[in-house]
């Protein structure tokens, strides 16, 4: 399927940036797990992450190799699989930290929502691409919204507010790119803002209200839910401009931070590598996202363009929400930092997403500019 000239369009920067991020993440995982794993052994989280990274690279190549339009062919099926997974995980999934998100498959834990995100992006892209001439039809707008809302609500039930928000953001970015009239979007955002207080009053369960309250004042439960919020803040704040040095952070090394290799890995970075380390990280992400945006503009068809857009928005929001939780800009919600957080599903699906981007680039027929 790959014509020889197509290979020229392969974007090595995307891979290099991704590998740089993974390497950065490995350093942080190493430091964060130093107290639990003083020596590097086969079961060390860093080794496992490295294995997933190689698997991800392979998956990426495979996904890029296949014509991405073939995924569009199976879009309805993919959507059914995504919703089915999210539905099933609520009943048979494993729980951790008060949330049910994982399947155990072949000895590996698979986070359903990580897989579902990519599948829903493909399905939405297919639906919107098919109707690119009917974008002024409110029905198209509403149906696409429902398509995104169903998995979002299922994820919300887990509960996983962060991922639900990512679904919302991805849909919004995709319909905007697809050419939905701005007034539709304006009306929807207006409605959302207007309804927000009611949702918070009546729609949020105790768990979410608690998290909101703790975000406002972590000291209301300094030893319970507020503990990590405060410790993350202390860790990052105490890092200063240059950080305390890798493996030198007292908050990290003395185990004041919990889940320091996953959701709170940014706190390790903030404490040990400081503001400079954070700027380096955000620069890497910004460059990667710019390459993704470039892929969207180069895509030969609307389908590819929308997939690329969805992936860019997904990565952007995950990065933003994860870091914002760490630095107490938003209430706590568990969401991995792409390429950095320890976690097989997330890493694999990120590489698969990059594979889609590469596939789109390889097959574009335009002249580069």
């Amino acid at each position: 399927v790959i014509e020889r000239r197509g290979v020229r369009h392969f974007d090595p920067l995307i891979i290099l940036l991704a590998l740089a991020l993974v390497a950065y993440g490995l350093l942080l995982i190493y430091s964060a797990s130093l107290s639990a794993y003083p020596e590097i052994t086969a079961g060390h989280p860093m080794i496992r992450q490295l294995v997933y990274a190689f698997m991800g690279l392979g998956a990426m190549v495979a996904v890029a190799w296949l014509d991405y339009r073939a995924y569009g062919q199976f879009a309805p099926l993919l959507y059914v699989v995504a919703v089915g997974m999210l539905f099933a995980v609520l009943f048979v999934g494993d729980s951790a930290y008060g949330s049910t998100r994982w399947f155990t498959f072949a000895g590996q834990q698979i986070q359903a929502s990580e897989v579902a995100k990519i599948l829903v992006i493909i399905s939405l892209a297919r639906y919107l691409a098919d109707r690119q001439t009917q974008m002024r039809d409110p029905r198209v707008f509403v149906i696409s919204l429902v398509m995104a809302a169903v998995p979002a609500v299922l994820v919300l039930i887990e509960p996983d507010m962060g991922t639900a928000l990512v679904f919302g953001a991805v849909w919004l970015g995709m319909v905007a790119m697809a050419g939905a009239p701005p007034r539709f979007i304006a009306i929807l955002l207006g409605l959302t803002v207007a309804l927000l207080p009611f949702v918070m009053l009546f729609g949020m369960n105790d768990y979410q209200l608690d998290r909101f309250r703790l975000w406002v004042d972590p000291n209301s439960d300094p030893l319970g839910g507020g503990f990590n919020i405060r410790q993350a803040e202390i860790g990052i704040g105490s890092g200063g401009v240059f950080g305390k040095g890798l493996t030198e952070g007292s908050q990290t090394q003395l185990d004041f931070l919990q889940t320091s290799t996953t959701d709170y890995i940014f706190s390790v970075l903030g404490e040990e590598l400081g503001l400079l380390g954070a700027v380096v990280l955000l620069t890497l992400f910004a460059l990667l996202l710019f390459r993704g945006i470039r892929a969207a503009t180069l895509a030969q068809d609307q389908f590819g363009r929308l997939i690329a857009t969805g992936i860019v928005v997904m990565i952007l929001f995950q990065v933003f929400i994860n870091i914002a939780v760490n630095i107490r800009l938003v209430p706590v919600t568990g969401i991995p930092l792409p390429f950095i957080s320890q976690g097989g599903s997330s890493l694999l699906m990120m590489f698969i997403a990059l594979g889609l981007l590469e596939g789109i680039l390889i097959r574009h027929k335009r002249i580069e500019f």
Partner: protein, 714 residues
Amino acid sequence: MSMFEGRRRWRAKEPKKNQPASRRISTMAAAMRALVILMFGILIVQLINMQVIRGEEFQEQAEINALREIPIPAARGLIYDRNGKLLVQNAARFSVAIMPGDMPEDGQQGMYRAVSEAIGMPPEEIGAKIEEGIENQGEFSPAILKRDIDRDTALVLMELAPHYPGLQVIVEPSRTYLTGDLLSHVLGYTGPISAEEHAELESQGYLVQDFLGKAGVEYTYEEALRGKPGKKLIEVDALGQELSVLSERRPIDGSNVVLSIDLDLQQRVAEVLKEFSGDSLNAGAAVMDVKTGEVLAMVSLPTYDNNVFGKSISSEELAALVDAPGKPLVNHVIAERYPPGSTFKTIVGAAALQEGVATAGTTITSRGYITVENEFDPNVVYIYPDWAPLGTLDFYGGVAMSSNVYFYYLAGGKADEGFRGLGEEKVAQYARGFGLGAPTGIDLPGESEGLVPDAEWKNETIGEPWTVGDTYNFGIGQGYVAATPMQMLTAVTSMVNGGRMVTPHVVKEYQDSMGNVLEAVPFEDRGAAPVEPGYLDILKAGMRQSVTSGVARNAAIQNVAVAGKTGTAEFGEIQWNGKYPTHGWFAGFAPYDDPQIAVVVFLERGSGGNDAAPAAGRIFDFYFNGSRAPAPKIDPIPTPGPVPGAEISDEPPPATDAPAPAVTPDPVPASVPTAVPIPVTPAPTPEPPPDTPPPETPPPSPQTMRLRRMEQVL
């Protein structure tokens, strides 16, 4: 790739109008780039806020997080008697506590259950105690769940501790007092620091879980006994486990304290006091080295076992102890004041010699009473009785026989005979000069000041002018004047040691744990007694005569010349037999020629001559002769106190020159003016029928009754 080819192959169709809206796409792309920059910009702004602007604040918090200052308690000093006998030992008591800041986020309930099973306290109560602890002391001070758990439970909990972060078994020092109730009033006890004490002492490094001295020597010498706690700075992980010691300052153990108390003597004094205290609610006795002011023995009855404070004592138990008859927690030797009765005559006598009111040769005749006319109505005459018509007495005889009339003259004078007395002001001045009306400065807490009245005081407190009758009562240690046994002891001490007002003390010196003397505890004299040694010698001779042939003769012992003064002081309400209950006093010293020790005995109910004097005799006998022999048959000294009304004889008072031989007087009559207006004709004065129980107290009258009540109030 053929599987994807064919008629069913799907492709996104390009719009029919070939209008790829490339402008829109590039606008969208630009918008997305802007969004990336905006969102990452927000993150960076917040990061700058946290890491640069508030960086130092968070750095401090990170340090507080990881570093803990752990106190290392110092071993409390031991206490010995003057001969090196150990009186108190350190022991351990176990308490279970939880450090709230180290508890895990989850699994607290499991921890509560485990602890609950071990100590039998409901989990809810544990939770409540932890909440309370956080509120009072923050989350990084251990909240005590239960004190005094037994050793086995402590071991169980110590095994649990590593599995439950925050759970601690605190080993606290406790004191075991080896002498039980023998030295409780001197040693005192320790207890957990109270919130108020902690607020006051926090700057000295006291912690909320500390123990400190609450009474006795444990209280007064807290600083020496406590030593200096050390501390170490350690690095901990989030579970509070110690990772490394960054710095350490070793504790300095408390100094050992050596009492001036002689345990054997203390033991004997306690026995003697019990034997002679009769139906007294309380009693006290003390022995002092007259040269140094060292207290060799100090016993207050009833006593208590201070070991009860080594365990957690419930408020009910404590209340029962506080309210028990005789107030066992009170050290009656120093903390309560009583009318000193005739022991006060030593002070009046010394004052009269110093002021020239009397000389050794001044003779006064006691016809058994003295009369005073009412200032405004000469027809009204008040009678002040002696305990017997003692005849003509010189100064020695006045002291030895404890003649009230003799001391009425010295204190108040006799205007119609032209005898000038000291007057109220001088009596008060000398009483204060000998240390009454102010704490003696003994190194024990809770000392009473006593009371030295004067005209100004009476006017302010009672709102009545001072009368000659008041001066008469004052002169014989009755009326308003009140003193602690310790005050009387130090007064007598200063009379016999060359006129030095010593500061009494129960602690001699500090030693380190090896027994090396660190320093003798310095006690400076409170100055000189207000009377010159030459006059004091006359007084001492009178006191000696009191023991050889006077009313204190039951204090005499073999081999050693004892001298002293008894007192039988009325107090309280009149009894069924028309008499007042009396306190029995003895204050004296020995040997007469070269005084070494002074002794005071106070019995809440008893007679000076028949109870207190022989008790003191047993103490002298033990001290000088090592004898534990019981008292020889007590030579009954009539307790003074004419019985009112009915017993008043119709005969005129015998103007005898000498006391009726049969009636051996011990004077100490006491107190209050018989304020019964009587005909100018010498009225029947109360006179003790021979062989009757001795007179000591004048009959009360309504007015007296009121005065007595005042006295009680005061």
